[in-house]
Amino acid sequence: MNPAPAALPPVVHPAPPQTATLRRLFLTLFLRGRSSRGLRLKTAPNSVGRKLALALLFYTLFGMVSLSFIGKQVFPLAVSLHSLTFVFLGMFISSSAGEVLFNKEEADILMHRPVSARDLLWSKIRVLLQISFWLAGALNLVGLFVGIYTTDGGILFPLIHIVSTILEALFCTGCIVLAYQLCLRWFGRERLDGLMTTAQVFVAVGAVLSGQILPRLMLRFSAEGLLTFGPKTWWIALFPPGWFAGLDNAVAAQGGPGSWLLAGIGLIATALVLWLAFGKLAENYNTGLQLMGETVSRPRPTGKRRWLEILASLPPLKWFSPVSRAGFILTAAYMFRDRDVKLRVFPGIAPMFVMPFVFMFQNSGHNGQSPNDPFSAGFGAAFSAGFLACIPLIVLDLVQYSQHWQASDIFRAAPMAGPAQLCHGARRAVLYFIAIPAFLILGTIVWFIHHNIAEVALFLPGMILIPIVALVPGALGRGVPLCLPNEEAKSAGRGLKMMGVMILSVLLSLVAIWAYQSGWFWWFLLAEIALAVPVYLALRAKTSRQRWRSID
């Protein structure tokens, strides 16, 4: 029909298959990020490689917790490894899947090309799986060798654990994709965005809960010797990490019918999820992609004010500077309306909400400790408070990233010497909507469970930390909301931050408990306040002195 371009040379290298091209594309985009801001071509391969190596190293180091299982049984080791893998993979996939599977900009580039939706979906899933395997491999590397030195394990353990970890990665990825597909199928386009976000947040929280609760339940029952699956530990079958640990136990430790039953559940569940997500419901993916190109917003009833507008007109927001108020509204609006930001923030802080509860309940009278033991009971409260105090640090770090980061250039065009007021607005939004409610909820729960004012008082050292912690990103020049492009590869850095947060929280709780037991608690609080006030003022001053950084 059309004349071919003149004098094309003979073909030497045939075109690679479409799926291979797409896989290479999505892997490159995943590793480099989708925007080039801050990425230089000459250093890109090195910096990306370094970033990935650092992430894998971090995961390997984290996996060293399995060393404590040397000389113990295979099943608890396998439960611990699979739980850890489940948490990290669940978090990683749920926070990346939204960006990878449904990207609006990508629709303008790829949707009019002769590529089938199924090829697109498969290419993306294979990249997600590839990265998941790398991360899971790093996380389980030490555990593979530890399994050889367990009492009932042996050389078979590494082999079967690799298989079970691959199955677990497939199950995690399948669950996330399935959540998307089901939302699309059951609820339709209009509610898709919000529902997909909610579904992913729940999957992430579920992964964290499942990963954290199972090993602790195992530990709780360890005194009774219930380290395998049986009638008294039927509940293990409710947690996916238990299924895959069952497979390890069945093959490596010649486990009984219980282990085979768990393995069977795992295999059937994985097969079912994969069939539904990538087979039966995959045709829905095309619809999902097309919806990305449709921009519809529900008409807003006339005369009805949004809750954020009402809130902004009330004290104390009313008293803030207009720039701070604008920063507050912008951050809050994106935290609650924008799919991309929600998917980063809420799964990102899910472990921070879950961990305190896990510690609180773990120390609430089990594990051979008395419920009235002030150390065991108090540590949970003090640790939880220290942990929750760090929420603003994590959230403010996460709300810096947005698909709409280019719009933030307007901040620099506005007559502001630096980002201080915007940072304050973002900080207040995070405090008012996430950190303070989290404290109130946890405090109320602690009160209802223990009816012990001393435990609630142990919240105070953590609470005093909140204003200081919330100022840190701004003081370091990193608290401007929505100003950076998404870079999925940075998630390892967040993991390191989480580790730091945990260490700080443990230190603070230990000191608080020591002060409490020595009768110095109130003096300790006074000292903390005396130290906190100048630090707070210094951080505020440093934030005010921040100037706009050059855009590279």
Binding site: M1, N2, P3, P9, H13, A15, T21, H112, P114, V296
Partner: protein, 256 residues
């Protein structure tokens, strides 16, 4: 070449494109005009297989839009208004990736890319030394146009293609699409720069609120409505006649 029959797109209760019927033969350059929100981009997205019509049907190069979407896409090139590219790829990586999606072998793709570079007055090093995110808007637009034409499509849809191009590149581009049309390609050109449309297009289609308002040769339409220029005709039809007076009134609010 392009045939639309009662093509309709609804977003909930809102009708974006309302029973649009058209026939566009091969070798024609069609200006596709309308005010903001008229349904132009939605129509182009439907015709390029990016979104599914709610009703009606369309064929492009004889392929049905609904049942043979991949075949339609193989024969169509599209320059979207957004000019989106993968910013973390170099220009060459991006264009080779696009070529591979159309099954163009790498060697042939490189030769083709060099032809476009020569046309757009760009050096090969520009494509290899910088990530697309570091390109100027005009350079990025040239890459997007190259990506749309690389596979030698029979039908090309342009949505604001001149956005970001400098005067020389724009002149070259206009000459290019006229030559492409002479060689039998069908060009659908959507733009708000009406004097360019008037000069370049053989035919103009004006839509508003998803409905077809006018369809004909630019000079004949202008003469029939006694408008003087296409711009005047457009503002008459789409309710923009009062705009100049409103602009003057609004400008008065800036007096200090």
């Amino acid at each position: 070449m392009i045939s639309l029959k009662q093509l309709t797109k609804r977003f909930g209760s809102q009708i974006a494109v309302d029973s649009l019927s058209l026939e566009i033969p091969a070798g024609q350059i069609v200006g596709f005009l309308g005010p903001n929100g008229a349904g132009k981009s939605t129509t182009l997205k439907m015709l390029t297989g990016m979104i599914e019509p709610t009703g009606g049907s369309a064929t492009i190069c004889g392929f049905d839009l609904l049942t043979q979407a991949v075949e339609v896409k193989r024969n169509v090139g599209f320059v979207p208004e957004s000019g989106a590219v993968f910013e973390s790829l170099t220009g060459l990586e991006y264009l080779e990736m696009i070529a591979a999606l159309y099954g163009i072998p790498q060697d042939a793709a490189r030769i083709r890319i060099r032809q476009f570079l020569t046309f757009f007055d760009l050096s090969f090093e520009t494509l290899t030394d910088k990530l697309l995110g570091a390109y100027s808007k005009g350079m990025r637009r040239k890459v997007v146009i190259t990506a749309a034409l690389l596979h030698n499509p029979s039908v090309v849809f342009f949505d604001e293609p001149l956005d970001g191009l400098d005067a020389n590149a724009a002149v070259g581009f206009k000459a290019l699409i006229q030559t492409l049309a002479r060689e039998g390609k069908t060009i659908v050109y959507s733009s708000h720069i009406l004097d360019v449309v008037e000069r370049v297009c053989d035919r103009v289609i004006i839509i508003d609120k998803g409905k077809l308002l006018l369809d004909g040769k630019p000079d004949e339409l202008v003469a029939a409505h006694n408008s003087g220029t296409l711009e005047h005709l457009f503002t008459q039809l789409t309710g923009g006649a009062e705009l100049e007076r409103r602009a003057e009134d609004f400008a008065k609010t800036f007096r200090s």
